[in-house]
Each structure stands twice: as C-alpha cells, then as structure tokens.
C-alpha cells in the first residue's frame, strides 16, 4: 500500500519516455488567474476569478480558487491547480491538528509559516502562488506567498497572470480608511479588470469577506461573463433511433422473475413421466 508523501517511482521511466523520444511535456491544468486581497477596517476581503486553463483551452470555466485553511483563514491560489489544492489542503490539515493540540484558535501567521516552509522545501517545483488572508485574535492579516517560499505582508495584494490589471485598479482605489462595502466593490472591480484584460483569467467573480468570527463566501457574485447572449433557444433534438447500434447489453440491477412456461395441466404431465 502507499505510504504518505510524494512517490518518485515513475520518474526514471518518464525521463526515458519523454526526453529520449523528444515528446513534449504534458500540460497540467493551470489557473492563469487573477487573485486579489484587500485589508479594510474590520477584516479582509479576498477575490478570485474562476477560469482553469489547460494550455490554450479552458478546462473548467467555473472552478473554485478560494480554499479554506481554517474557519476564518482563507487562501486564494494561482499556478498549477493540483498544487494549490493539495498544498492548501495539506496546510489546513496541519493547522487543524496544531490548533487541537495547542488548544488555541489558529493564527494567520502560523498558516503563513507552514506554507512558506513547505513550498521552500520544494524550491519552486510546487508551483503555487497564494494570497493568504484571515482574521485571528490579533486582528486582520493579509500575506502573499510566492512558489519559491518568499512572503510579503501588505495591505493590498494581487497575484496571477492578471495581477498587473488588478493592481492598477487597487492602486487607484485603495485607501486605508475603507469600510466593508468599499473594499468589496474595490476587489470586485480589480477581479473584473483581470477577467477583461487578461487572457488567462475569465469566468465569474468569487468574493470572500472575513471579519472577526464571521466569514461570508459569495460564490459567483458576478456572472455577466457566463451568459451566452446568442444561444439557440430551441436546442437540436436527435430523433430516437438516429444512432445505429451494433450490439446491446443490459445489466439490470433488479432481476425480475420471468415466467417461462405456463401450463394448465402440469400435474398430469408429471405423472406421465
């Protein structure tokens, strides 16, 4: 059975298969992404778009990029989708065990240290760029974590391929005396700017507002990009039997009893035998 941790059994075989035969390295699902975090007077607002790409193709038009680390500590992730999901999942697990063993509610700074130590061990090979935000008993915190393990603490952060577009909006609109509604609308505008101007970002807008002992997740708060304007009203109907079948096999879950032979004078027949 499998032990925990990464398994490098197939590494040698893959080197022989790919490099020696000049194959291209297969594409992993990436979250091109625009992720944004803003600190306001009472807490933190995190925002993300919802597009996951596999090369130039949109693999998932509505994926969730804001992951739960703890009840009031959430993390938005950009980079390779599998890496962000598994890294945040792993650190959420470690933080839960830590908070149970210490008997204290978890701090954002603890999650930050766990994440940066984990990512630094892999020297950037785990491609996860994260915006970590939350409110603990010391107040609201917002941090950015790069794939190689470096971190920054800032009042407003944008990461991902759409970070330049989002940062332009944040630099214009940010003020240190913002309230909740202003912060939400600023994050919303920043993500929209990323969606419209960056090809790697798209889909809907997700928002997460974290305050002291309260968390509100607005999944798909803005879906203007997802409604196809000129969709055919009456979809094409295939007539039953339009596909020719060679063989048909039905595996039924419930076996019904079938009466094969019914004879009225069965007893007389038996006696004859």
């Amino acid at each position: 059975m499998q032990k925990g941790g990464f398994n490098f059994d197939l590494y040698q075989r893959n080197v022989e298969l790919i490099e020696k035969n000049n194959y291209k390295v297969p594409k992993t699902t990436k979250t091109g992404t625009t992720i944004v975090g803003v600190v306001f007077s009472d807490g933190v607002v995190l925002g993300a778009d919802t597009r996951a790409t596999s090369g130039p193709i949109v693999a998932d038009p509505n994926c969730e990029k804001i992951h739960r680390i703890s009840d009031y500590i959430w993390c938005a992730g950009a980079g390779t989708a599998a890496d962000t999901e598994n890294t945040t999942g792993m650190i959420s697990l470690q933080l839960e065990l830590l908070s149970l063993s210490t008997g204290r509610s978890p701090r954002v700074r603890t999650a930050l240290t766990l994440l940066k130590n984990f990512l630094f061990r892999y020297h950037g090979y785990i491609s996860a760029a994260l915006v970590l935000g939350g409110v603990d008993f010391t107040g609201p915190h917002l941090h950015m974590i790069h794939p190689h393990g470096s971190t920054s603490t800032l009042p407003y952060i944008s990461m991902g391929s759409g970070s330049l577009a989002a940062m332009a909006v944040l630099e214009t609109g940010y003020s240190s005396k913002m309230g909740e509604e202003d912060a939400k609308s600023l994050v919303h505008q920043a993500i929209l700017s990323g969606i419209l101007n960056d090809l790697g970002s798209g889909g809907n807008v997700d928002l997460c507002v974290i305050k002291h002992k309260s968390m509100e997740f607005f999944r798909n708060i803005d879906t203007t990009n997802s409604k196809r304007k000129f969709r055919k009203k009456l979809p094409y109907m295939f007539k039953s039997g339009s596909t020719k079948i060679l063989e048909k096999e039905i595996e039924e879950k419930m076996r019904k009893m079938e009466i094969v032979n019914e004879k009225e004078n069965a007893i007389e027949e038996l006696e004859e035998l």
Binding site: Q2, G5, F6, N7, F8, D9, L10, Y11, Q12, R13, N14, L17, I18, N22, Y23, K24, P26, K27, T28, T29, A52, S54, I57, A59, D60, N62, C63, T80, A81, A82, D83, E85, N86, Y125, I126, P235, Y236, M237, F238, K239, S240, S242, T243, K244, I245, L246, E247, K248, E249, I250, E251, E252, K253, M254
Partner: protein, 268 residues
C-alpha cells in the same frame, strides 16, 4: 619533325618547367594494409548501423505529446438522474492500429463508472491498482464506495506521483446519494479535479468533443435522449481525430442498471 620539337622545347620549356617532385615509392607492410582495410570496414559498418538502428529516418511526427502515443477519446454526460459515458475502442501504437476491442471504461460498482485516456500501459496499471484499492475498501468499509469518494481517491493517487506522473486523464461518472444525483468528475494527469454539471471530455479528440458537446448538450435529458446525444457527439468528434475510432462503446447508467451499446464508427 625534330626541328619543330626543338622549337617547342626552346620556347615553352624555357617558361614552363616540370615540378621537381622527390617522390618516394611507399611499400607498406601487409599488416599495415590489413589494419587500414579493417578500419575502413569498421567505419562503413558503424555508419550503416547508426543509420538503420540508432537513428533511423522515421515516418511520423516528432515533438508530439506522449498522450498521442496510443490515442483514445472518452466523453461523459449528465442527464436527469442518469449519466452516460462513451469512448472509442481503438488500441494503436503511433500510427498503427493494433487492436479494435480495447476497453478503457471500467465499472467500479453499480453507481460508478470510471474511464481513462492516455498512455495504455498506465491505464492498465491503474485499472489493477484501483481494483485492488476498491476490493480493500469493500472489505474494510463493508459498503460500496460513492462516486465522489472514488474521485478524490483517484486524485490523491495521481498527485502522489506529482513529480513523475502517470500519463492518463481519468473521468469518473456516477450517481450520488439516495436521490441518484448525477456526478461527473475529470482530473488532469496530476489530479486537479473539476466537477462540471454538464459534460466532461478527455483524450486526443477532446477539442472536437468540447465543441460538439457544447452545441448539443441540454439539461435534464432522459436516458434515451442522453444516449442519442452522447453517441452523436462521440461519433462526430472521433471522425475528426486520426488516433481514435475503430469502434465505440456507450454505457448509460441509471438507477435500474447499466445499458451498454456498441456503435459502428468509421474504420479508418
């Protein structure tokens, strides 16, 4: 005559003189000749072997993806309390078709169907690996696994090989819970899951499949209509993909059981 020659000699030969070459006649030993011939023979044979075996001229595309080595296509769609999963049955090695009946869609239990595309050797390895894990699960938990749990199991197995992955793209289709809600999941080769509500596509024909599924998919289809739609989508996409085809199989999973139908595709 002699007078002409004398003239020639006198005019030209004064200008043009033959070169003074102090040539020595070389008489090599027999061993030296033998060594030279042996060396020349070695060079010739080495060249021949290099051209034929080490780096032969190949017919086919270089710099192509490892996923196109075998070639396959799978699509799964959700209907009203039913799911359908369909795939082609060609097994090929680069441009050559080796078998027409390779099955890449497996039944995990009465509620879950599991299909894989990509490198065939990894598909076979993982089929055995998941069969083993599911048998163990049934023995330990004394119940059947739900499709959502199985999907997470697949993702974890693939992510454990993050640096040295299996070259497959799996698709899980099933009916979840008491009210048989359709469940679809697709992951990439290292286990990044997505849970769409409509359809999932995978394989060498995935780009054509995406287009045709987006067009023909409707919500809340009954099993008969779902079968028609998924079959037409698969057939259309597989016709435009050189590496898939040569037969296809469609499974429709409802709460009453699984209906498997084989379709006729183009045999080219």
């Amino acid at each position: 005559m002699s007078k002409k020659l004398n003239f020639l000699e006198s005019s030209f030969c004064k200008v043009l003189r033959p070169p003074q070459l102090n040539l020595r006649i070389i008489k090599p030993s027999s061993m030296a000749v033998f060594a030279f011939v042996l060396f020349a023979l070695f060079i010739v044979f080495a060249g021949v072997i290099y051209d034929l075996i080490v780096e032969p001229p190949s017919i086919g595309v270089e710099y192509v993806s490892i996923f196109q080595y075998n070639g396959s296509t799978i699509v799964a769609m959700a209907g009203k309390n039913c799911v359908a999963i369909a795939g082609d049955t060609r097994f090929g090695v680069r441009n050559q078709t080796v078998a027409l009946d390779s099955n890449r869609i497996f039944k995990i239990n009465n509620r879950t169907l599991f299909g894989m595309t990509g490198l065939n050797t990894d598909i076979l390895t993982l089929r055995e690996s998941f069969k083993f894990q599911m048998n163990l699960y049934n023995l330990e938990e004394e119940r059947e696994i739900s499709p959502k749990t199985f999907a997470h199991n697949v993702a974890q197995t693939l992510y454990s090989k993050r640096f040295g992955p299996y070259f497959i793209t799996p698709i899980i289709a099933g009916l979840e819970g008491e009210d048989y809600t359709p469940f679809l999941c697709a992951t990439d080769l290292i286990g990044a899951m997505e849970f769409p509500k409509s359809f999932v596509v995978a394989g060498t024909g995935e780009e054509s499949l995406m287009g045709v599924c987006e067009t023909f998919y409707k919500e809340n289809m009954e099993p008969d209509e779902l079968f028609e739609v998924i079959s037409q989508c698969l057939l259309a996409a597989v016709d435009r993909d050189a590496l898939s085809g040569w037969g296809s199989v469609v499974h429709v999973l409802t709460k009453d059981g699984i209906t498997t139908k084989r379709l006729r595709t183009r045999k080219d």
